[in-house]
Amino acid sequence: MENKIKILYVDDESINLKLFDINFNENYSVFIADNGFTGLEILENNTNISVVISDMKMPKMDGLEFIRQARDKFPQKRFYMITGFDLTEEIREALDEGLIIKCFRKPYNKNEIEQAIKEVI
């Protein structure tokens, strides 16, 4: 159990969180948060989380803002974005400046995510 990769998934839709947990907890240790603030808290308390995946559109603090803040504190973690939108200008910029490694699309593709995580760890 200890050597499982720890993932934090942030999304404002609770169904998404539950499903992500169900589908990924077998191979990863999954942490979930339904907003950016909780996400940051979890990161503070679990410094050994290595992968962060965040939804883009969330109330109060959107995915990019959350990742920006999280990255300031934990620059060595891998950040990913997941969105129901097409690639927007700001996501493209985030990709270009290396803030996020990749942007996944909804509906998610389990293989794609697992592959991406495998590549960087």
Partner: protein, 511 residues
């Protein structure tokens, strides 16, 4: 202005008439009177109208020479008539150039009537009335015969002269439409005088050659000199007097010509502007449409993608569950679960395609993968082609990436494909071929539809041009397509045959 010229001519007509009457008092032969009329008038014309008029008058005047030798004096009237004809033609022509009111023919006919009446009056009353008239007796019958002959000749001259003046080369040769007064007035006077002197000199010389010198004839010569110079100088003076007016008039003519050009240019500019405006209007409508559609679809896409993500998660979870714990009816559950996956994929493709299609921005450096753009179009158009139109794809083997605007290229192919689909009535086929040829990517879309009438081929890309009934087509599709392709520095070409089908060839720069 025209009436002014007419007055000038009339003054000289009367002057010559008075002088000729006077010459009768001095016992001059009828031939000489005729000579006076025939020579003085062309000279006045030449002075009034300048060098070219003088040359023309000289030619006509010279025609007089062989005829004066004719035994019958009455024939001497012919050159007279010709000279008059020319004179009035010139007046008529001049007024045509300066004034558009009334046709030249009407003016000429009017002048002719006056001329004929004047002549009639002259012969019937003046010559006969003159006490010292020494020439042969002229009867009414003779006068009428001469007049009839002259009128016929005059009409012939008129027709001939008119048709001559209507030929462009002659007009150019005589420079009838250009102004000679403008150039050099002094030079003009000298030329006119010299020319007239030459004509007059030639006449006198010839006349003297065939008629030995007598007192009366010397007197005639003197009279001619007086006549000629006085009329010439007065004529020039009058021209000078009206010079300012002439100049103003000529300026007006030039302005009129210039105005016509100006109007032409302005009209062309206006047409251009209207064309541009129409195009702008079209692209504005399209931009507006695409912008709101873009907002709408990306909103919808997001809203659909989220629940789709739920289903995807549920599918993943279920598939995993059955894998782990097995199923009592494995075949059934597998089918159920995998159908979910297929459904998700299809919806996702549609949403993605729609999102791509209506993506609205002005970026021209996006990565555009031609084949996937085409595929997206087929996904969106699927319900229009299903079971009806077979789609054949002859794609290039390699994937083709070009720099451009993804959303706009989607619209381009979507529009062309939509047209192809709409042109096919019942069943048909659309062949889409892509290839890289040198520095170009060529996308060829061929359908087996109704085809386009030849006369419409050139109008296809005009904004708001449509052959569809009102309400069914905006006429914007191909015009937008055209402007998008132009924006991508590409070209679009249509080949079509009625009843066979249409091929649209799009060339885009490959980079």
């Amino acid at each position: 202005m025209r009436s002014k010229w007419f007055v000038i001519s009339a003054i000289f007509g009367i002057l010559s008439f008075v002088l000729s009457t006077l010459s009768i008092e001095f016992k001059i032969e009828t031939t000489t009177i005729t000579l006076t009329w025939s020579v003085i008038f062309p000279i006045i014309v030449s002075l009034a109208y300048g060098m070219r008029g003088a040359i023309v008058s000289a030619i006509f005047g010279a025609m007089w020479i062989p005829i004066i030798l004719w035994p019958e004096n009455g024939w001497g009237l012919i050159p007279n008539i010709i000279a008059y004809g020319l004179f009035y033609l010139l007046i008529g022509f001049n007024s045509e150039n300066s004034n558009n009111n009334g046709s030249r023919l009407r003016k000429t006919v009017f002048s002719t009537i006056i001329f004929v009446l004047l002549y009639l009056f002259l012969y019937l009353f003046v010559f006969r009335w003159t006490l010292n008239y020494t020439g042969e007796h002229i009867s009414y019958k003779t006068v009428l015969t001469i007049l009839t002959k002259n009128v016929i000749i005059f009409i012939i001259v008129l027709i001939f002269g008119e048709s001559l003046l209507r030929t462009n080369n002659l007009r150019k040769l005589l420079q009838l439409e250009t102004n000679i007064y403008r150039k050099n007035n002094c030079k003009l006077i000298v030329y006119s005088l010299l020319t007239s002197v030459f004509i007059w000199g030639a006449f006198t010389l010839l006349y003297q050659l065939f008629n030995p010198i007598g007192t009366e004839k010397e007197y005639t010569g003197l009279l001619f000199i007086v006549l000629f110079f006085s009329s010439g100088i007065i004529s020039r003076w009058l021209i000078f007097a009206s010079e300012t007016q002439i100049k103003a008039e000529l300026g007006l003519i030039e302005f009129k010509d210039h105005l016509e050009d100006l109007v032409k240019i302005r009209t062309r500019e206006l047409e251009e502007t209207i064309k541009k405006l129409t195009a702008t209007k079209a692209s504005l409508i399209q931009a507006d449409k695409m912008a709101s559609l873009g907002t709408l679809t990306s909103g919808i896409a997001h809203e659909i993608n989220n629940p789709l993500n739920f289903i995807m998660g549920a599918y993943d979870g279920l598939a995993n569950y059955f894998k782990k714990h097995g199923s009592l009816e494995a075949d059934k559950t597998e089918l159920l679960v995998s159908s979910m996956n297929i459904g998700i994929e299809r919806i996702s493709n549609i949403v993605h395609g729609l999102d791509q299609f209506s993506r609205y921005n002005e970026n021209m450096d996006e990565d555009c993968e031609i084949h996937s753009i085409l595929e997206n179009c087929f996904v969106i158009l699927n319900n229009k082609t299903k079971h009806r139109i077979s789609i054949e794809k002859n794609y290039a083997q390699e994937t083709i990436h070009i720099k451009g605007n993804v959303g706009k290229l989607h619209q381009t192919f979507f529009n062309v494909l939509t047209n192809s689909i709409q042109s096919i009535n019942a069943k048909g086929r659309i062949v889409v071929a892509t290839k890289v040829e040198g520095i170009n990517v060529i996308i060829e879309i061929t359908d087996t539809g109704g085809g386009i009438e030849k006369k419409y081929l050139e109008q296809l890309t005009n904004p708001f041009f449509t052959t569809k009934p009102p309400g069914e087509g905006t006429g914007l599709g191909l015009s937008i397509t055209y402007s998008i392709i132009t924006e991508h520095k590409g070209t679009i070409e249509f080949k079509s045959e009625l009843g066979v089908g249409t091929t649209v060839t799009i060339r885009l720069p490959y980079n």
